[in-house]
Symmetry: C2
Subunit: 216 residues, 2 copies
DNA sequence: GTCTATAAAGAGATAGAC
DNA sequence: GTCTATCTCTTTATAGAC
């Protein structure tokens, strides 16, 4: 008789509430101390377990890192697809994607920062799997940018891939400094990044003179 | 009789060419394997030394990380000040600062990425020193942005600190993906980032309609 | 599913010879 | 300035009882 009447997430085996906690705490410690800097004893202590008990839920410590990275690179495209779903206007779709990306990465900083900074500690084989997911994700974003260009909403003098490099900078680094208790809420953050990305930081006067330079 | 007729850098003691190599290799390994994931034996091997010999140049492994971080946060403001030096126009000064930042971080990826991702492994006291240098650096950049706003070259509807957050995203993450053997050389990279930062990614048509929205 | 106990390897750092 | 040798502690992971 199971002690808790939970419907488990997606696991194939066992009664896994503890497994989810394990992954959450692992992501937290990996971000805070680094992967190699996190011991299985520390991890066990945070769950109120002995070191050896962890091995009921995992085979090696590296498995945890791998699962955290897989989870993160899964959540991101899922959230973006959901956000993009119901927009006809490509620029609105892109804005929704930006919003979803920010939301996911800020709400899951431990997972997100771990998957960006600690994936180097995975085996080469597993690093390749992660790198492939990352590539696919950013290709998806590139597609959104390309559509917005085709619709005449984004400038076409720069290739979509280059615009995405800029966008990627804006999105990737945000979770490293953003604090939910800071002066910027999520709406302001999204407005700031989208605003400068689309309109630029130049003053109107400067922008007009730049246009003049081109026209004359 | 010294074996090499080198003028040493800034050290107060000893004959230190090896010390510089040690710091370089340390930064490389710290970036590649993480601080905790790097052993003193690995480090020694890269210098052709035994583990114990390192302790002639350092007291603890953590000292190396600290020196790498200090070095990185020293180089950045020095390079920016030098680049800004001879510009009267605030916007040109800011552009020169951006160029210098990119140059330094891309040319010293090991140091730069280590100081951003591994400083968490320092003692709390040392982390504070590093955090202070980081703050001072970005305050310097904020000053440049503020001047460019005062000169009417950057939009003033956003506070300088918010424009710097955007700029910081653009600059901070670049060294993580930029490859010197890629299709973008440093000039193109600087042009891309500065261009989108100043002018925005929207098409002119879209930009005009945005302006119209404000005017009408 | 969690425990105690422990194996086996690797870590940072030191002692002292040369 | 570099070495060999070693101390001491911590690490990941396993064995086997409950």
């Amino acid at each position: 008789v199971p002690r808790r009447a939970h419907v488990s997430g997606a696991g194939s085996s066992g009664s896994d509430d503890t497994k989810a906690r394990l992954l959450r705490e692992a992501a937290h410690l990996f971000r805070t101390n680094g992967y190699a800097g996190t011991s299985t004893r520390q991890l066990a202590a945070r769950l109120g377990l002995q070191n050896a008990s962890l091995y009921h839920y995992m085979e090696t410590k590296e498995d945890l890192l791998y699962e955290v990275c897989l989870d993160g690179w899964q959540r991101l495209p899922v959230a973006v697809n959901e956000a993009v779903g119901d927009h006809d206007d490509p620029l609105k779709a892109l804005k929704a994607a930006v919003r979803a990306h920010l939301r996911i990465t800020v709400d899951n900083r431990d997972v997100y920062i771990t998957m960006l900074t600690e994936a180097k500690s995975l085996s080469p084989k597993r690093q390749k799997v992660i790198a492939r997911r990352r590539t696919e994700y950013w290709e998806r974003i590139t597609g959104l940018v390309r559509e917005a260009q085709s619709a005449g909403e984004l400038r076409t003098d720069l290739p979509p891939a280059h615009l995405v490099l800029v966008l990627r900078n804006l999105l990737a680094w945000t979770a490293f400094w953003y604090r939910t208790d800071g002066e910027l809420d999520m709406d302001a953050l999204q407005g700031l990044l989208t605003g400068v990305f689309l309109e630029g930081a130049a003053s109107e006067r400067a922008a007009l003179s730049a246009t003049a330079d081109l026209t004359i």
